[in-house]
């Protein structure tokens, strides 16, 4: 498909703990099209950030196996020099914490210009400054000439996040990875930043991977959603299908634990998210958290199954899953 921007195949990212490698991202396969927002949802420890860092190859000490190809160039095997040409140019990243993601001792303008300098040698000093002011305007920063000279600590959290976005989009990247871009912000600021990301998507036609723990953010932003648990994608579907017809037990549990209208008690997922060292490595990784579902319903080697066009679910246990406090569902089973 010519529209395909990013293709990830059997990606496995492992970290070394006490002389042994443990996979934080395990067998992830997905594609991202141009001009599409793919939401990746999961809780801490799901491997969603590790996935984002793998795509940018920002891990300093990790073993990456499998294939990540951006415009048919394999990032996993790429030499560092080539990688540096792509990072910041073809692919860019927006980070979670605007308070720490900017160099505190460098003026805002210089931090944006650095990205221009690295990838667009033709642009002279004047050109860089002009483009920087333009970018600050684009991300909705008032009085950009002044902000150009300022230091990060002089700006509010929301403004800093706009600067980080300006850095990311400086060279019109084709792939934009936003790692929890609004988690550290107030709700009204979050709404503004999300609007900005939508707006930029229209302008620069980038493919965007939006990583978040907030189901609401995904529901509002994404075209497609991947749900991650314990390093794997457990469900991936177009956004309306995922929310209208969630299938995987984890997706359903997660949706039920968010406070919504007319809910008396929130659903609680049994047990705790396993740590990286204790991740189950075989069988259905969610099985231990839904012990009431008979072991025979899980697959031995769970795979993603396409249940309707574009809607994939891992493991067959979803067919037999019910919430234990929901008697009706328990008796009738799920369709």
């Amino acid at each position: 498909m010519s529209n395909e921007l990013l293709k990830i195949k059997n990606l496995k990212t492992s970290f070394r703990i006490d002389d042994e490698y443990y996979a934080a991202v395990d067998d992830v396969t997905l594609t991202l099209n141009k001009n599409e927002i793919l939401g990746i949802v999961g809780e801490s420890g799901s491997g969603k950030s590790a996935l984002a860092f793998s795509i940018m190859r920002l891990h300093t000490r990790a073993k990456i196996e499998g294939e990540i190809s951006l415009n048919n160039q394999n990032i996993v095997k790429m030499p560092k020099s080539k990688l540096n040409k792509i990072r910041g140019d073809e692919m860019a990243m927006i980070f979670q914490d605007p308070l720490t993601a900017l160099n505190p001792l460098m003026p805002i303008g210089r931090q944006i210009e650095e990205n221009l300098f690295l990838h667009n040698k033709k642009l002279g000093q004047q050109g860089r400054k002009k483009r920087t002011i333009e970018l600050l305007n684009l991300v909705g920063i008032p009085r950009p000439e002044r902000v150009y000279e300022q230091f990060p600590h002089e700006l509010s959290g929301g403004m800093r996040q706009r600067v980080i976005i300006a850095i990311a989009i400086a060279n019109d990247p084709e792939l934009l990875i936003a790692d929890e871009p609004t988690t550290a912000l107030d709700v009204t600021i979050q709404a503004q930043i999300l609007d900005l990301i939508q707006e930029l998507k229209q302008k620069i036609h980038a493919g965007i991977i939006l990583i978040t723990h907030d189901l609401g953010v995904v529901a509002e932003m994404a075209d497609r959603v991947a749900v991650m648990y314990a390093g794997q994608i457990v469900e991936i579907a177009p956004v309306d299908k995922l929310f209208a017809n969630p299938l995987h037990p984890y997706t359903r549990s997660l949706l039920n634990s968010v406070p919504t209208e007319g809910q008396d008690r929130l659903h609680v997922i049994q047990g705790v998210v396993p740590t990286l060292k204790n991740l189950p490595r075989t069988g259905c990784r969610f099985a231990e958290r839904i012990p009431w579902v008979d072991a025979s319903h899980h697959e031995e080697n769970p795979d993603l199954h396409e249940v309707e066009p574009g809607h994939f679910v891992r493991c067959t246990c979803y067919k037999h899953f019910y919430f234990p406090d929901n008697k009706e569902e328990q008796e009738n089973g799920v369709s």
């Binding site: 560092k80 990688l83 040409k85 910041g88 980070f95 720490t100 230091f151 600590h153 850095i167």
Partner: protein
Amino acid sequence: MWKFIVRRLLITFPQIVFLSVLVFIMAQLMPGDALTGLIDPTITQEALEIQRERLGLNNPWYIQYADWVTGLVQGDLGQSYRFKTDVTAVISERLNNTVLLSVVALVFTYLIAIPLGLISGRYNDSPLDSAITGYTYLGFATPIFIFALVILWIFGYQLGWFPTSGSVAPGMQPGTMEYYLSKLNHSLLPGISIALISVVGTVQYLRSEIVDTKQKDFIITARAKGASENRVYNRHIFRNSVLPIAAFFGWEITSLITGTVFVERIFGYPGMGLLFLESIGQRDFSVVTALTLLFGIASILGALLSDIILGMVDPRIRIK
């Protein structure tokens, strides 16, 4: 920023006053007074009293203190009993030597410390880093005079590369090029000795600063821009780690003072430190007092300098 400097200066002033009071009290507690070394031991008690009265030595302490401070401000530090001349004159002769020695020591300190710290921090936990860190532990554990003696023995006596005492070769004509080169040559070995010890703190500080900065989020931002590792280090990590070191500069002056006192002695280098030790040995208390005061003021000004530099290099303080 200027407000910060003014406020900082306002704190410095009482510090110096407090120091002067301390030094004054110390001087009062020392045996003897301004007359002790000057007078004929056979003089009568009455004549002595007259002299004492004339010099104001019988006045209440606060008037004596005021007189003393007035003298200080006018550059009158009293009389040296040993040299039979103004303390000011005795000190100013030695001051130039010590300043030269200090500058040499400082230059070497930074020339050695910054590369070592940068290497140690960038390649932390490598064998090279272990070697450098090992050296810093050694430096911490070794008293400076032992270190200086070893250096003197190796480079001065065994290899004969440097002169082993004095501040200038005998017979040089002051003002000639050779004279200045000889001065510089004489200051090198003691200067390096001080530097080799005083780098220790800077190296360790710089190393931990770099190791710390390396893990900051904005470093990831820089990598995500496509900056090469060298650029990430040069533009983001080193810069941000070296700036706090600049603030150490003032404190370095304080540590130099202790350094010079011992090193000048070992190298027979006629500076203020040597003068200080000699004067203690000879009970030339007016010189000791004056030097204590000068060393104290230097430390206070060093701290002041540190704070101001820190304020200038860190925009977070500069703006406020």
